[in-house]
Symmetry: D2
Subunit: 485 residues, 4 copies
């Protein structure tokens, strides 16, 4: 309905009512226009029906939705199933163009605007989380690992003779594989143990740089967020070294936006050193389904080079999900989620400490990790540790990891000893749990209750009380329970 429509309505109901309705809608129009103008997350949550209406208007701007459209190419956005069309709000052209991931798609003005708004709002979200001076960013419709891979491929064209990527070990397969997939030789820097905490060995990194020669090094691949007892890397130190040695730095910030500490390190590192890209998982940070990554950079030149490396169009689905979600949250909702996560983490730690005491275990002291926590399992032998993992899984606790230090993992010819612990010899077996964004206090209560129950139930001696068939079967099947997701 347009202005004339409202005028015409006056033939049916009192003009006072129409005037009132038009007036009542002004704030909605203002909200939409502010979004189109400022391209930032609105202060307050936007109701679903407003979001749907905006998506509908954007969809109407795609040529494939023009009633008069005549598609004469091989790709015309025709969608067979109405169900599918609705899932995508009638936008079928994806994002990007053969030229560039962030290019405007001439056939799809609406989709292109959606993509741009989402990218700007995503950048805004990063700033809210603490990366105040980040320059550029956009949604990449691939998982974190694949996006890291594309970062490395982008650097290849800029540093054609470089072969090595220096990587302070974290025991998560995707990021390790991203380097191999890109065709580089990962140089694994073993971590050091400081108290309970496993930390990147910055001195060892420096020595390795000197040894290999900076021109042979594609980049340093550093990490902020990981399972305890791994701590975040000392990013400012590493970034400073990268600046000094003219080596690119790629940061795997998989779910680091949830921790103000991680974000502070990134901001500080960018201030004093060199940082080429930081890569965030959309689903781990913004409560959307798996599928996309937020690529960001303090260097818009690198961002552009990266964007140009993606060959062809791509799925708009992660952008659409993030668009809807950030509008739904509003700045206030997002900030609330960040604060609540902090509180839930503190609550989880407290509860876990009480539980630990009651079981003669203890919570690992890992001040360098504000998201994940470790609980020692010193009272259990390896079999019982494994069994504990499957018991938790069967009791509908998902995401808890039991880690037994002796595991050896081989990834594409590379062997990592003590896999799961981020170091070759971690002294104790343990269990990790995390307080991710969106977790509620009540979930912590359920978690701790079930955990306590299982810890009491797990047979203290194998022979004394055999586990149920299904439990041991599951334990066998899940094999190394340390496997990352």
């Amino acid at each position: 309905m347009d202005d004339r429509s409202y005028d015409l309505c006056k033939s049916m109901v009192s003009r006072t009512y129409i005037a009132q309705a038009v007036e009542a809608n002004v704030p909605v129009h203002k909200l939409v226009n502010r979004l189109l103008e400022q391209k930032r997350i609105p202060d307050d949550p936007v109701p679903d029906h407003v979001i749907k209406s905006l998506l509908n208007d954007l969809a109407d701007m795609d040529t494939s939705n023009f009633s008069s459209n005549c598609g004469a190419g091989e790709r015309e956005g025709r969608v067979y199933s109405q169900l599918v069309a609705e899932c995508h709000y009638r936008m079928s052209h994806g994002i990007g163009r053969s030229g560039e991931l962030t290019s405007v798609q001439p056939k799809a003005a609406g989709s292109s605007i959606l993509a741009q708004l989402t990218n700007k709002m995503a950048l805004h979200a990063l700033k809210i989380a603490g990366a105040t001076h980040v320059e550029d960013g956009f949604v990449v419709p691939m998982a974190t690992g694949m996006t890291l891979c594309l970062c490395f491929l982008t650097l290849r064209s800029l540093r054609p003779s470089a072969k090595y990527i220096i990587w302070a070990r974290i025991d998560q397969k995707s990021c390790f594989k991203s380097m191999i997939t890109a065709g580089f030789i990962p140089v694994v820097i073993e971590n050091i143990l400081v108290g309970d905490e496993v930390r990147a060995d910055v001195d060892a990194i420096r020595r390795k740089v000197d040894e290999l020669g900076s021109e042979n090094i594609l980049c340093i691949h550093s990490t902020t967020s990981c399972f305890a007892p791994r701590a975040f890397d000392d990013l400012p130190k590493i970034a400073a070294m990268c600046k000094e040695q003219d080596i690119p730095l790629i940061v795997n910030n998989a779910y680091g936006t949830q921790s103000s500490k991680c974000m502070h390190l990134i901001e500080e590192a960018a201030r004093i050193g060199r940082m080429d890209a930081l890569v965030q998982s959309l689903d781990k940070n913004y409560m959307v389904p798996v599928g996309g990554t937020l690529f960001a950079s303090y260097d818009s030149g690198f961002a552009e080079a990266f964007s140009r490396m993606y060959p062809g169009r791509a799925s708009a689905s992660p952008s659409t999900d993030l668009f809807i979600t950030l509008l739904s949250m509003g700045v206030s909702g997002y900030q609330k989620l960040l604060q609540e996560r902090k509180q839930v983490f503190a609550y989880l730690k407290e509860k876990l400490e009480v539980l630990a005491t009651s079981c003669n275990e203890r919570v690992l002291n890992t001040p360098g990790n504000n998201i994940s926590l470790g609980l020692t399992l010193t009272t259990l032998d390896t079999d019982r540790c494994t069994l504990l993992g499957s018991m938790l899984f069967l009791r509908h606790v998902s995401g808890a990891r039991v880690v037994v230090p002796s595991t050896v993992q081989t990834v594409e010819r590379y062997t990592l000893k003590g896999f799961g612990t981020h170091c070759e010899k971690y002294p104790v077996p343990y269990l990790t749990v995390a307080a991710g964004i969106g977790m509620r206090k009540e979930e912590v209560d359920v978690l701790v209750t079930r955990l306590l129950k299982v810890l009491k139930e797990v047979p203290t001696r194998r022979e004394s009380s055999a586990p149920s068939d299904r439990e041991s079967q599951c334990a066998v099947r899940t094999g190394s329970v340390t496997q990352a997701s």
Copy 2:
């Protein structure tokens, strides 16, 4: 509702009615179970509400949807917005695992089943289209270019010393960029002109192989489907050479499943030669939104290697779209679409020939292309050709391409002369249009009518009748109208 539910209903309505209702539902249960058992596209279209109900049941199998679930990891499939959850039918865990793109995700049994069923149905669709003996296949949630890139990266680990990719030129940017992004040197083999048709020069390919040495060649990158006047490659010959020389062959079959001729070539090539992978766009072949690719192979070893290269989980959205679409079509619906496209292509050709005669132009004779057609524009000079392109766009004809032979395009340091024509010197300017799957006869009528109108309207001499401001502005803005999408 389960068996007990129906029993309980008998307290409310006659048991005859319940018996009848239960009986009436038997075919639906059979349909679902046949799908789960045979993992092929059902013969007949499945109604939307049955598809939705099945998706709902699958979603209920993901841990994140268990009412009793307690998520203790950093990735628990929490979804903030109800709108987003609904778009994904409450499945948020994506597909794959850090290990492999086709791995089962322990937290998401339902999503994993959906992904597997989709992959099997997609393979079935390929067989229906003509690739009867294809071995393995799966949906990759990345665009065609990026999937080709990952094919090349997979080959790298198998042929570490190879640097070159031999490529019979087609003027579409994404596939060219896919090689550069993967870090290889594309060796462009110029095509030959046979009559109106532009064909791959198989002899030149062979000479280049001899010149470079097969061990230095990563693969041959061949193409089936492209804009006229480019013909499909002579795949059987190339595959035979690949087998003989032990060189991998990667086939860009972007939208070739629509043409029984292309599919026949693929099947024949696989029979007599070597073919490592064929890559199909989901949106161009199956009427789903942009976002995914169907990777397929006659060699399940390579398929597995490829699957293992993808680092991490990925979006389930392209799989879900294809799942819904193939169920909606049924075998009968899909076959009907293929047949109709063939008829629409013939109809388009016929109509275009009539139009051509009336305008002193002619339809390019390209028997090696059953999807795209070219119409000469010999009566127009370059400016008017360009103008024609923008006039069509402004009259809501999308996807038609005006190609002026003199265009030069630079892609990442490589220069392609005569860009858009697939060869250095094509004799005439022309316009291409395509009959893609899902196009209807009435659309052809509209297209030809508008085309005729514009051809009559375009000023025969620049000075005699100036185009409108908007038209010339658009002509300037779209620049080279040959740009691929």
Copy 3:
């Protein structure tokens, strides 16, 4: 999005694309404004997303959807469940007001406009169907019987001393009950048998009028559409009599809009005589769910009196359903449905005649009924007739009626002999089937096939082949299979 929004979009994509998008949307705006101005069914079908967008804009005009609204009354349109809100497109205030069913609801401008547009489109639909000069009409959110009842109650206040309603018998319970519920004495005029056809006895009606005295008669209650072998009433004759005697005429035109003959009779009757109201079922005529009636009148005074009788607000659901449906159909779609129904009726008759011949039965000759047909069952005894009915029901044939002349039905102290046949002694048992709007030829084929199969299967002698337990049980349970729905 408003004009300013599109302007702001130009900062993101080329202004040419925006101009094109805006232009492409002009026909949609025109369509909506034409609807608001002319208040008639659009010529062509309106796509679902346009309908949804219009409903969304209307919903935004209801005060309960103002973001700034503050509800201080006892009825503020608050809706608890999001699912429920969506089913009603966020409009919760219903239609009408304490004053009148067609009044504007001050709190709900959007709902009020929707109701008015629907009423006007419904009137338009009646005119398309043939009631060219009908004056006024609106949707009543009650079933046909209850609406007839309200017609009688409206007449009561105008004719306080009248006690009788003269009614030419049709064997459908609701319309009979509507008179009793309203508190009047139905005077049943038995029909006459002319060949196979059962017709209203206009002379007997006239005699009864004379006998009772017109001032004691509330109205004549006449019928156009009924199951064969009942024919439509001779409305012009009855209407002329009503005019002459100053007696109101209420016409039960339950599903008569499907028959151009019925509509012609109505139009003719109104021209030469008196007709106060005609009442149509929404679901039987317009393919919407059960729930509403279209009340119409050639006398806008009576229409207003009727509207004022409804005490309070009412459900907007039937209006919304009809609004969506008539927009979805467009004039062209509605006319096509009417034509197709005519053809399907002819096809059904033809097929049934072939079947009849093959079974030694015949199709009743009922030229006065263009919707329902009767097939004699002279070769079966009563038990087998009953059994036939249940066998059809169990074979998923719904709506076919087996009528055995001997049934006696008592409705609220009144006894109707030969119930189901519309007369006291119909000579043969028979089966009725109808060709309702929306029925397709393929359904006729299925129907005739199943019917033939069942006729062959029904045991010719009870003892020779017992029916299955379930069949006989069902036969017992459904009791008189003549029961109307």
Copy 4:
């Protein structure tokens, strides 16, 4: 998916995962079966996707949704628009049958079960609210007034010679009209003023009964919930009199379920006296859209007679809305809403008293009304009172009523002096506001703020400061601002 489906899934994912998924779904199946068995509101809220799945399963039980169905009648539940079908969850047959509103519809087992479950849950809701011993109840898909009307029509057949309905005046049009529409003579009993409160005059009722003779009286029509300063009727006294005199009692309990006091009165009255029916608005009590009523009775004989009076099928929409809503709420959610309303009422009263003091007005002392409150407007003259009403409306305060005692209203030949105040001469003008179910404290804050603002803004002398054109125009248009909704 059925048991076999889950078995088949084991070919795709680990049987442990399937076992876990099946196990995780057990509570959902239990919930559904408990509902089907106990037919009461579940203790806890049911998630939307479970409700949708249940509705889907019920829809599959309707013959019109059988894939094998062949519809041969004139009413086969065909639905033209997919949008409409979805709004009704594919159930199109409505509820009831020609025989009875609560009858099972043979073509629609699923719809019939839905209707029955809703009726039982509605009865359960009434019991939760305090009518512990209520016997029978069901949803009537008509507004409150029309349902009262049908109550009176039902009584007519039981008391054919009775002409009068005795009614203790409340100034709400629908309930007054319901008596006239039904064809009876309303005998208005003027209320008495006790302090600020307007109360039914039970002695006058008794005198009128004696005067008219109980056999001439159809029933007493009594009220529990009304705008302040009207108090609820003294139901126990009236019911006792009805029992003694053998006069039916119909209670208009429009929104009384929200007040435990009203419900207590009803329960008490039923215990010691006679009460034939109580009628509740669905939208006012259960936060669903306008459209239905909950009819209830302590006498299942009368309930059955009432149900049999409704001629024909009826809309299932109000039942579906209530079904979804009560499941969404669960017992806990519903009780919480009742408690919160009580608190919000107390809060509103408190806030209003503070405001009153600051404006030299006072809150009317009406202990007999726990939902609605009155604020005197003694400092304003009539014009300014009227103006205040429109100012509030234009400032998006809906539902507040300004009442000026001098209004005279004529409803169908009956004249009510002092209309709006429930008595002929109320001493002061006032404003009413209500705390309805679902209102939140924040809404009270907004209300009181706006009210205070408007009270300060309203010009103290007409000439000193003219209202804006729009305001005075609106004041004129809304006419008597006392009009009920």
